[in-house]
């Protein structure tokens, strides 16, 4: 009887050890996946921020008025004379699409980021997808005194504005959607 108890106890202990090691391996793998995806998000948000910074820093370049043609919490449209396009007056618009466009992903809040651009003379243009996986995009506008402008924003009063962008994975990893964010307050030199 004693021998049987020894064998059962020994097997139980081995099983517990194997289980612990397996759990540890799974936890490590999960954490590694989470951090890898988060690092990818970090890289993605950095790339998007660079593209947006180039456009948004040019606001008002070599034009006399109407620097902002649209300004809301979730959409911004700016005008400037584009030095890389024969100095033609150009508009650029950023906005996030609806969540329904990415309904195939596990993340219920991720959306596509759109960038539309064209010359003022040509008018409208078809928006192009600039990035996938935007979970938050918010624009805040400030007047000359640094006060927040409330909606509807008086576009001619804008002297600086802040972009808050969060990009998140479409997949649930370790019970979280790995995400990275970018916050930047612009003081475009051409309107100050």
């Amino acid at each position: 009887m004693g021998a049987i108890i020894d064998i059962v106890a020994s097997l139980t202990l081995r099983a517990a050890i194997v289980l612990a090691v397996l759990n540890m391996t799974i936890a490590l793998q999960g954490k590694l996946s989470e951090k890898t995806v988060q690092a990818n998000m970090f890289s993605l948000v950095t790339t998007v921020s660079r593209v947006m910074s180039v456009d948004l820093n040019l606001v008002g370049n070599n034009i006399a008025s109407n620097y902002f043609t649209y300004a809301s919490q979730d959409t911004i449209e700016v005008c400037f004379q584009d030095p890389s396009n024969l100095n033609k007056p150009t508009w650029v618009k950023y906005f996030a699409g609806p969540t329904s466009e990415l309904s195939a992903t596990a993340n219920p809040n991720d959306r596509k980021l759109y960038r539309a651009a064209g010359t003022v003379a040509a008018g409208t243009a078809t928006p192009a997808v600039a990035a996938i996986g935007v979970s938050q995009l918010k624009f805040t506008y400030y007047d000359v005194s640094g006060n927040t402008l409330s909606a509807p924003v008086n576009k001619s009063s804008i002297k600086s504005f802040k972009v808050y962008l969060v990009m998140a994975s479409g997949d649930l990893i370790n019970n979280v959607y790995p995400a990275a964010e970018w916050t930047f307050r612009f003081f475009p030199p051409n309107i100050n």
């Binding site: 540890m24 490590l28 000359v144 003081f187």
Partner: protein
């Protein structure tokens, strides 16, 4: 169980414990490194943002452009703010550290007002508060990192950003040199 078996079992458990401790360290290090990287990125963005705010100000409140060309025979630069007086003038001071909404935007009217200015910025990504500090001094283009003790056509702006938790004793430093002819 003989002594040999007991020793083997103990050795096995010790190896197992070491393995668990190392695994925990790996997990913890991964978190720390990613948060530190995020802190560096956030500090860089905050510094750049503050720098762009400063760059919208005049070069010197005592003069309006055009100042003439840098290095010209004109000695107009002698009218710029004294090197020893770089900082906010009367009526421009407020309690530091500055906090949102930042008073520097309305109170300061030239680049050198930001000398010894600092502000606290709350991050939205759970990294706590960042401290953004600025120093401004005259430099000569022939020796830009070295402070010049008199007025000159060019000022160097240094923005230093740190975070008490994630950038302990570390700073993200950015600088720009502004010339009198720009604004």
């Amino acid at each position: 169980m003989g002594l040999g078996q007991t020793m083997l079992t103990m050795a096995f458990f010790i190896v197992l414990c070491i393995m668990f401790i190392n695994a925990y360290r790996v997990l913890n290090n991964a978190d720390q490194q990613l948060l530190t990287a995020t802190a560096y990125k956030t500090a860089t963005d905050l510094g750049q943002s503050l720098m762009t705010e400063i760059m919208t100000k005049k070069f010197d409140q005592n003069f309006n452009p055009p100042y003439g060309s840098i290095g010209s025979s004109s000695n107009i630069y002698t009218g710029f703010t004294l090197a020893s007086k770089l900082g906010p003038e009367a009526g421009e001071s407020f309690t530091l550290p500055d906090q949102s909404p930042f008073q520097s935007i309305t109170k300061y009217n030239d680049v050198d007002d930001y000398n010894h200015y600092y502000r606290l910025t709350d991050s939205t990504n759970g990294l706590g508060r960042f401290r953004d500090s600025v120093i401004v001094y005259y430099v000569q283009m022939t020796n830009p990192p070295t402070s010049y003790n008199s007025q000159w056509w060019t000022k160097r702006i240094e923005v230093w950003v740190t975070n008490d938790v994630w950038l302990t004793n570390k700073w993200v430093k950015q600088y720009s040199i502004v010339g009198a002819s720009t604004r």
